[in-house]
């Protein structure tokens, strides 16, 4: 029998039971849609996070922090400690072995490799900012940096939207993030350019803790950066000149040192990272965007596995549905199979006809499922995107996922139809013909 005739025979059998076939297809559609939607969302999430990491950290920048925890480890009390928990002051943590990262190390680091184009030291403390009778917490931290070096490292984000960032600022010049300028993002500004504000920082180096203050002048407001920041400018940060920070905080230690490389070539990143850690005798952590992305992608692959497992269960249920309908179909069509065999149809052809039927169901279900899954993931993304986080999640349906879903849909259908198809092919014509 020609394969086209086998196919059209399978198809005619499906057409006969439209509702039943439709419901079975629905089972496959739901399973496949779940797989596609979950994987596209998770894939989109991973890409969004990776992009944010690269944006926040810079693909070609390295962040050096003292200690071995790294910037995501939290142990160093470095950048991540900026918001609510005050950074561990050096004198209190002096007992532990973490070496001090001094502000003047920048020249030594710069000399380590010709691949390094810039080295910026950052001093960071938590604190408050007061304008008149309004006080808000600076959740992004009071960040002391060299304005011109910082601007050249983070050209895209450390630039003035309002006002101007002075290259050689006077001590009381400050640059504020978009959400210090307008905390609720509704146009009610907290402080404007040229406003005189008070910077408040708690000195925790000696008991009792005392608040230190100084009066600063807002010279510039940064554009809206969005997302979350691992290093580099953030919407909730206040930026003061490094010299001022050093004297105000009473420290000559850097919270972190940001190293900019010529480009984001991964071997270069690795070799420079090694160079720096060796230079500091393994007492510092060097974190690159790639490191963070790798951590994130480990997390999302675990997520993928979990979501994939959930989706696989629904596919499995769909498969059982297919098996069920094929067995019913087999019983109903016993006599028909007897006729076909009496007319000289080979067992193999009977098997193919049954497998063909379920493969058609699987194919139609998989294609519809991929489309539905895509629509679903777009809907979910729409519902969860935006908001105050400023992160847009756009689901990604890779051709691999689509093909995988298609393969699974057809594969599951065929596998679960194997048993009924095999039983159909083994029917003995005399008995099948006798069947009423």
């Amino acid at each position: 029998m020609k394969s086209r005739d086998v196919f059209s025979f399978s198809f005619s059998a499906i057409k006969l039971r439209k509702l039943r076939a439709g419901l079975t297809i629905l089972g496959v559609v739901i399973g496949i849609a779940a797989v596609v939607a979950l994987l596209s969302i998770s894939q989109g999430l991973q890409t969004t996070i990776t992009n944010q990491v690269e944006k926040g950290l810079g693909a070609n920048t390295l962040v050096i922090t003292s200690g071995t925890g790294g910037i995501l480890g939290g142990a160093s009390g470095g950048l991540s400690g900026g918001s609510l928990v005050p950074s561990a002051p050096s004198s209190l943590s002096g007992a532990n072995s973490a070496p001090k990262l001094y502000l003047n190390y920048t020249n030594q680091i710069q000399a380590l490799s010709p691949d390094i184009t810039a080295v910026v030291a950052v001093v960071q403390q938590s604190g408050f900012i007061q304008n008149g009778d309004k006080v808000i917490q600076i959740s992004g931290g009071i960040v002391g940096v060299n304005f011109s070096e910082y601007a050249s490292t983070y050209g895209n984000t450390f630039k003035a939207e309002i006002g101007a960032i002075p290259l050689s600022p006077s001590d009381n010049d400050i640059v504020i993030g978009q959400r210090i300028y307008d905390p609720t993002l509704n146009g009610t500004t907290f402080a404007n350019v040229n406003d005189e504000v008070t910077i408040i920082c708690t000195n925790t180096t000696q008991l009792p803790y005392t608040n230190q203050t100084y009066t600063a002048k807002v010279v510039a407001v940064l554009p809206k950066i969005g997302g979350f920041q691992i290093s580099g400018p953030s919407d909730t940060g206040v930026y003061i000149p490094i010299t001022q920070a050093s004297s105000f905080f009473g420290t000559d230690e850097a919270s972190s040192i940001i190293v900019t490389l010529k480009n984001s070539d991964s071997t270069r990143i690795t070799s420079v990272s090694k160079l720096i850690t060796n230079y500091f005798d393994n007492q510092v952590s060097v974190t690159s965007a790639a490191d963070v992305s790798a951590t994130v992608s480990t997390l999302t692959s675990t997520l993928d596995l979990f979501l994939g497992g959930v989706a696989a269960i629904s596919l499995f249920v769909a498969g059982i549905g297919i098996m069920n309908i094929m067995i019913v179909s087999l019983i109903e069509r016993t006599r028909e199979i007897g006729i076909l065999k009496a007319l000289g149809m080979k067992s193999r052809t009977v098997l193919t006809i049954f497998l063909g039927e379920s493969a058609i169901i699987g194919l139609v279900g998989a294609v519809s499922g991929i489309i539905l899954g895509w629509v679903l993931s777009e809907g979910v993304a729409l519902a969860f995107s935006g908001g105050s986080s400023g992160i847009t999640l756009s689901p990604i349906l890779t051709p691999q996922v689509a093909l995988l879903a298609l393969g699974f849909g057809v594969g599951v259908s065929a596998v679960f139809a194997l048993y009924p198809a095999w039983r159909a092919s083994k029917l003995r014509p005399v008995e099948a013909l006798r069947y009423e």
Binding site: R335, I339, L340, K341, L343, G344, K346, S347, V430, L433
Partner: protein, 232 residues
């Protein structure tokens, strides 16, 4: 399979036995049948129900395997064939059943085409031939009707056209008039008679005396054995 189409003996049974297992009781349906059917014959197999005549027909049709004994079709020993080869052999045997056994979702034309499509004949060729066959059995204007829209006689004629489609070596009929009214039965009988006159070998099982009267040879089966074998 070495089919010899010049062979004059189309069917030869030697000591053919078939035992069914009905629960724990073995039932001997055939107890040693010897039979030879030549090309162009019109053989009618008669016998009370349970005599084994349907079993004999099923064996000759390669639908079932004998318990012992030999069966040759066109000189081929069926016991040497595997299931697949037996199936292929059935392409060369035309079956006509009491209950027509048409595929309900297919039209008359598609039903006739089906047996040719199983034989691997291309679409255009089989359509042409199916139309010709249906015209031959007088159903030219009913070709696109489904079995449910046809009378019993018309359905049986579709079955005849289907059985003839692959130019079978012989036709096997199991009560071809068993499920139609007497007027239709006369039409079916006339058709069978004409087929035989055109040279088609026919073996049939029937209770219908009007039909058996037309046969050139009558075989009575009793208790699984041939009781008489008469040439009319």
């Amino acid at each position: 399979m070495n089919s010899d189409l010049t062979q004059n003996t189309v069917v030869e049974a030697v000591e053919l036995k078939k035992t069914y297992q009905l629960g724990k009781v073995p039932v001997e349906a055939l107890r040693g049948v010897n039979l030879k059917v030549e090309r162009g014959e019109f053989v009618c197999i008669l016998g009370p129900s349970g005599s084994g005549k349907s079993t004999l027909l099923n064996l000759i049709g390669a639908l079932d395997k004998p318990t012992s004994g030999k069966l040759f079709i066109d000189g081929i020993d069926l016991s040497t064939l595997n299931d697949n080869q037996l199936t292929s052999l059935r392409l060369k045997i035309g079956f006509i059943f009491q209950f027509f056994n048409l595929i309900p979702r297919f039209t008359a034309l598609e039903n006739v085409e089906l047996s040719m499509s199983i034989a691997g004949i291309g679409r255009d060729e089989r359509r042409k031939r199916a139309e010709q066959l249906l015209e031959d059995v007088g159903l030219k204007d009913r070709m696109n009707h489904k079995p449910a829209e046809l009378s019993g006689g018309q359905q049986q004629r579709v079955a005849v056209a289907r059985a003839l489609a692959n130019n079978p070596r012989f036709l096997l009929m199991d009560e071809p008039t068993g499920n139609v009214d007497s007027k239709t039965a006369r039409e079916v009988i006339a058709l069978i008679k004409k087929l035989n006159q055109d040279g088609v070998t026919i073996m049939l099982v029937t209770h219908d005396q009007n039909l058996s009267r037309e046969a050139k040879r009558t075989i009575h089966v009793m208790d699984g054995e041939i009781a008489s074998d008469l040439v009319n």
